[in-house]
Structures are given as structure tokens and as C-alpha cells.
Amino acid sequence: MSELKLMKGNEALAEAAIRAGVDAYFGYPITPQSEVIEYLMTQRPEERTGMVVLQAESEIAAINMVYGAASTGKRVMTSSSSPGISLKLEGISYLAGAELPAVIVNVVRGGPGLGTIQPSQADYYQSVKGGGHGDYKLYVLAPASVQEMSDFIEDAFDIAFKYRAPVLILSDGLIGQMMEKVTLKDQKERMSNDELIKKYGDWATTGKKGRERNIITSLDLKSEKMEARVHRLMKKYEQMKQEDLRFEKIHCDDAEYLIVAYGSSARISQKAVELAREKGIKVGLLRPITLFPYPKQILFELADQVKGILSVELNAGQMADDVRLSVEHKIPVEHFGRTGGIIHTPEEILEALEQKIIKNGHIRHHKTRESSIL
């Protein structure tokens, strides 16, 4: 039975993992996401569904445990926060290279370095521009509510297994820590080992039985083979762009100005849109739900309709680059965002929109990125 509950984002995600029939979770504590493993441990998932939950000795060990279970076709996940994700990046690159399905959750905090334990969206570049080494991409889902923290677990695993590729759920300390009502899905049964072997036996290392051996590796010492592997990955990413792009348009039909924001910034920006409309300013909101693939074409088309775009992010300006690339300098694009763990208010966003976009709306010349930040 689906169930309505009041939960923290991190807890909702953990509960959703059990209900989705996830086989294993490996993690290491770090604020502000420790509730994920804490909640899992209180739930005795081994008894509820047979799900394995293990606290690893480090984020590095945890992501390599994910690699191990994923190489045998199990539905496996980990979660962490920014500095911990930096440690996991080698393993994430291996997952991509070895073409393994897995789900990684980043409940982002401010950086660089040890930074702050407060919410941030400063891992945008790390998430969508690679982060780890080599030619790879992550499919990136950005939840904007506790409900989506819960819903995106199943979505993420569906994509991970559709493409045999790692998927990142890019949340932040705000979504992870806040409580909201959430409708939890029904319990799904975990796949049996026999079913798993039937389904993934053509690649997973489950023991050589009635077939040639399976090998999981990201190594190809022959250049031609390695290039073929890279091409295979790029083909997957193209297919993701064609088939699995997700975004939400709010009040865009009559919009003269546009805010682009994801995750918690999208929630706050939605209020800013309402405030603007109360003042008679026609503002729309485009919320990318997937950050890779990115709603490039939608933005390109909206650039013919709106006079300017404000990219609102809890960072010093990262996604704004992708907005600029998408609109190909047809209209001004500015960034607004607080850092250090400070959450921008809807009023601040509206003020930034008025100052940076509306006041300068008539100036339709090309600005350099540097001058737009100043």
C-alpha cells in the first residue's frame, strides 16, 4: 500500500530504496546526508527485504563496494555529500568505464575543501562536466522536493539498468534535511538470483555457468578497442538526450523573462515567479529535472520568446554557462546565487531579476562572462 508520511528528504530516499527492492547500500557518514544510512540501519532492511546495508571504512571503499555488487548485476547504491563525492570520483569513473549500473546520491554542501555543512549547489560542474577522469557522463537527476527524493530512486535505477551506466541523484542539504509530506510507493520484491542471472547473465559476473566467462573491466590496452568503448559510451549519452531528457516549464507560455533553476533553487524561484507576477512582471521558470541531459533545445527556443534569463543557483555561477551555451548568446543571461550555505530568498531573486535582467533588458549586445558577473 502506498503511504503518506512526514519525512526528511534523506529518510524518504532511504525508505524509497528499501521499497524499490534495492539489493545493497554501501556508505560512509558525512553531514548533511548521514540520515540515509542511519535510517537504513534502524529499519533492519536485511530482515525487511534482504537488502544488504554496510557502513564502509571510507567513501572510497563504499563506491568500490558499489562497483563490486554492480558487477554482479545487483541493484546497488551509495550516498554522500560533496567532499565524499570527490573521493568517490575515481570509482564513479570506473563504473562508467566498465559500463555498470549503479545509483549515487550527492546531498550537496558548500565547498571548496571542507567548506560548510550548509546547503549548496556548487557541485554542478563536478556532476555534469565529468568530475572523474576520462570521457564519460553521468545521467543526473535533480530532485526539488522530498517527494522527488523518494520517487527518483526507482527512476534512477531504471535509467541505470537501461543504459548500464551510473546515475547521479544531485540533491542538496536543503532537500535532504527538510521535512515534507511524501507519498511512499508500495514495497517491490527484490529480484531473485535466478531471475537476475536470467536477465543479466550475458554480462554480469555471477559465476561461469553454462556460458563463457564474463569479465568486468574498464581496461583496454589496445587503442582501437578503447576508442570503440568510448564511442559506445558516447552513443549511450546521445540516446539519453533523445529519450530521457526531463524538465518542467512553469508559467512559461506568456513569459517575457525567464528564470532557470534546479533543485532547491527551483523551489525558491517558483515563489519569486509568483511575486513577480503579482507586480505584473511576466516571468517564467524552467526547471531542468535532468542536468545531463540538459534541456538545451527548449532554452534555445525560449530565447526567441523571452528578453533575458536569470540562472539561479546556490553557487558562484556554474549552470549559467550551460544556459549561455544553450541560447547561443541570443539574449542576455545572468547568474544569481548565494554561497557559503546562505539560501537566497524569493525577494532577493526577484530583485536580482529586476536589476540584472529587466533594467538591462534593452541592451541586447554580447556581454563577456566576466562583465556579466560584475
Binding site: L54, E57, I60, Y67, G68, T206, G207, K209
Partner: protein, 257 residues
């Protein structure tokens, strides 16, 4: 009697295990890795457990173990094989899971993963080939490089004062309660290879009985890295490696010797 009368399939008394592929080994002639591979595969073959065995290959000379071992293998990131094996064993508790690692992989970059997998008493086998040098990257100093030994990163010999003492990982993990069986073997003679095979067999039997972690160190040579002929490298190993890394059982049935 003509020799062709003797060389007939029905007269065959010994052959290469089918769990070794026909791929030419990438190891240098004289290296112990080939024998260590072969013994491991023979044990899995003789126990009839190939259908339930999953290997984890390291980074280092044996990174391509999957080319030679005809079993399901996952190749891990440098040093992380025990973490990879942990997850496979936890999610497939009925399987035989083993790692095959060198000294750089296991005793340097993977120290944390090794110690914690041992400390949790994961039901896996760790086969640790220690030749006191980084072979694949061209002969750099390893944590197990002996005092005074010249490598490309200790060109005037390993100095204890600045580079530390050679790390005895095997003795270290033997002290952890989760570890059930610890032994140090070598494969440079038939006699030693037979003993090593017995040890590997014991380790896999421990997995079957869910006894926890079995740790087998194989002290081996690296004639290329040590810049010696294969025979000289074996003699050097006996004279120099064995006194510091003495052969024999260190922990049996959960009890220190």
C-alpha cells in the same frame, strides 16, 4: 615402442587445467605469477566450484588476470579489490569470492581496504603475491621492498630512516580476530608450489565453511624488476626475502601459531 604409441589421450596423466585459458601469459619468463595463477585455477577446478566462483583482479602486473583465468572476474581499481570482493560476497553469500593482488595494490594504496575487509572477517580469500617491487610500472619501490634494495625510486637502496621498514601486512592482518587463516608460501620449486596449492585449497574450503577471511601471501620473484636472471632472482629471494618474510602458517583455524 614408438613414441606416438605413448602420446595418446588415454595415456595422459596430467594436463593443464581448463580454467587457464590458452592466452599467452603477459608475465616475464621466470615470474611466479603464472604458477600462482595456475595453482589457484587448479584448486577451483578440483573443488568443482567454478560455477560459483567470482574473482577480483587488481591493478599491477596481474591486472590482466582475467585474460588467463577462465572464470568470471571483475577488475577492481588500484587497491580496492577487498572492497569489491566484500560487496560481491555480501550480496552473493553462497559464492566463492577471491582477490588476487600484488604488494603495491594490497600493502600500499589498498591498505585501508585490506585491513577493514580482514577486520570484518569477510568470507573471502585474499591471495597476495609479494615480490617486493612495483613490476608493472617499471620497478619502483614497494612497501615490501627490503632494506637496501635498489629500485627506480630508491636508486641508492631503501633507507629505513626516510622510507620506513618493509611492511609485513601478513603478520599485521593475522592479529585481527576476523581473519581465520593466514599463511606465507612460495612457488619457486615444485615442493613449494605443492604446499602453496594445499594452502589455497584450505582457504577455499574455509569459504565453503563460512569461516571468514583466509589470507595467503605468496613470496615471489621479479627477475625483471630486480634486474636478475630468473634463477638468480629465485636464489636472491631465498637468501634475502625469506629471512624477512619467513614461510609457513601464521594463523590456522583462527589461532595464531
Amino acid at each position: 615402442m614408438d613414441i606416438l604409441d605413448i602420446i595418446k589421450p588415454e595415456n595422459q596423466v596430467f594436463c593443464k587445467t581448463k580454467l587457464m585459458t590458452d592466452t599467452e601469459l603477459s608475465y616475464c619468463p621466470g615470474c611466479g605469477h603464472g604458477t600462482a595463477h595456475n595453482l589457484t585455477m587448479e584448486v577451483i577446478d578440483e573443488m568443482g566450484i567454478v560455477e560459483d566462483t567470482i574473482g577480483v583482479a587488481p591493478v599491477g602486473c596481474s591486472v590482466l588476470a582475467y585474460d588467463f583465468m577462465n572464470i568470471d572476474i571483475t577488475q577492481a581499481a588500484h587497491g580496492r579489490a577487498p572492497a569489491v570482493a566484500t560487496a560481491i560476497s555480501r550480496t552473493w553469500p553462497e559464492k566463492f569470492v577471491f582477490t588476487y593482488q600484488g604488494d603495491g595494490d594490497l600493502a600500499a594504496i589498498g591498505t585501508a581496504e585490506t585491513i577493514h575487509a580482514c577486520n570484518r572477517g569477510e568470507n573471502i580469500v585474499i591471495i597476495f603475491v609479494n615480490n617486493g617491487i612495483y613490476g608493472m610500472t617499471g620497478g619502483q619501490m614497494a612497501p615490501t621492498t627490503l632494506e637496501g634494495m635498489r629500485t627506480s625510486t630508491s636508486p641508492y637502496g631503501r633507507e629505513i630512516e626516510s622510507m620506513g621498514t618493509p611492511l609485513k601486512m601478513t603478520e599485521l592482518v593475522a592479529n585481527l580476530p576476523g581473519v581465520y587463516y593466514v599463511t606465507r608460501q612460495s612457488v619457486h620449486t615444485h615442493k613449494h608450489a605443492r604446499k602453496a596449492k594445499k594452502a589455497i585449497r584450505k582457504a577455499f574450503e574455509n569459504t565453503r565453511l563460512k569461516k571468514g577471511l583466509s589470507f595467503i601471501e605468496i613470496v615471489s620473484n621479479c627477475n625483471s624488476g630486480w634486474k636478475m636472471t630468473p634463477n638468480d632472482s629465485n636464489d636472491w629471494m631465498v637468501d634475502n626475502m625469506f629471512p624477512y618474510f619467513p614461510l609457513g602458517d601464521i594463523k590456522v583455524n583462527g589461532k595464531l601459531k
